[in-house]
Symmetry: C2
């Protein structure tokens, strides 16, 4: 679609998007790369370069139109449409995500949550999502046109569960399991490794002179 985009760019675009959304709520009409940079501790040139991979969104002398840029980033990130999401594993983290407004607001619709545990199946989360049987997963994925699976199962079953999810046609995974999973390369996996952040913090704290 576009030429070669440095990998960190997509992530930063999502950060810009967050700020733009906030600013548009506050009624700002335009924003400059330098004011954005100040808010995010990034160099203005970084921001301009990032945006320039996708086209010229700004106006010289004025900056960027907040709404327009937001819309453009939505397109680039693919969140101008809604994604259908299934949460797999209704444990602590799965249930936390199930009602995370941040996701819903940004284009991800939680279409279901499944588990194996007899005790959990049938229970309702926040009065609008009912935990369903993982045995129904294939049907759920096909009927509700699930595109993204969120893996929140115990480590030792993660690969097995992933394999079936892929078999049912899912092409995108957000993986909360602290384990490197194997998948065909047309299946995108995005790892979220919370405990790595704690260790990275620890490292910085004991090496804080540098």
């Amino acid at each position: 679609m576009f030429e070669k985009i440095p990998k960190p760019v997509a992530r930063r675009l999502a950060i810009y998007y967050r700020v733009l959304k906030e600013q548009s709520k506050n009624g700002a009409e335009t924003i400059s790369s330098s004011s954005l940079g100040r808010m995010l501790d990034l160099k203005p040139s970084q921001i301009r370069k990032d945006l320039s991979y996708f086209g010229g969104f700004g106006k010289r002398g004025t900056g960027y139109n907040v709404i327009d840029l937001m819309k453009s980033i939505e397109k680039i990130l693919g969140i101008d449409k809604r994604w259908n999401v299934l949460i797999i594993g209704a444990g602590k983290i799965g249930r936390a995500l199930a009602n995370y407004p941040g996701l819903i607001q940004d284009g991800f619709t939680i279409k279901g949550i499944v588990d194996v545990s007899e005790k959990k199946i049938g229970k309702t989360i926040d009065e609008h999502l009912t935990i369903e049987d993982v045995a129904e997963m294939e049907k759920i994925i096909r009927e509700r046109k699930i595109e993204i699976g969120v893996l929140c199962v115990p480590s030792d079953v993660a690969q097995k569960v992933l394999n079936s999810v892929i078999q049912y046609g899912i092409k995108g995974i957000v993986n909360f399991v602290p384990k490197r999973l194997k998948a065909p390369k047309d299946v995108m996996i995005e790892d979220v490794q919370i405990s790595l952040s704690f260790k990275a913090l620890s490292f910085r704290m004991v090496n804080s002179e540098r």
Copy 2:
């Protein structure tokens, strides 16, 4: 402490650590950079280079002793000691973290969890942690020698809560709030931005030909 360490290295060390722990459970005595690399989809030379910043842990011809390397990485990451952690905000994500075994196993002790909500204060999570009043936070931090705070509060109060936490002497924050927070530079903040991972996945999915 050490010379100039590339920033991605600490994060990778934490990944190596995870695998080493798993391997040591499986009874492996040694591991080579190439087998580690295969498991993690990393070039062996990357792994050797990463480790070499901190010294020569391996033995030529044989590889690395799993236990020794694990211990060495623990030291480097600063998780050879236990860190005292306070969770701030007993909402969905705060409560999920409160009993995440991954953290406890890797050197982080959850010493408390606080909230403002009258309804939540006094309630017990998994029978061993009781939600306390955020008004007691200063006392808790000082008496229990809290070193790391985990921010799980709503976006609009995050900066205010952070400011007080810092005032009470905390030097490390794991921040789950999707917002760039300001802090003196001797306070380390590690951001965990779950919704960015979803957007990054979306981006990859709509641009998957590249």
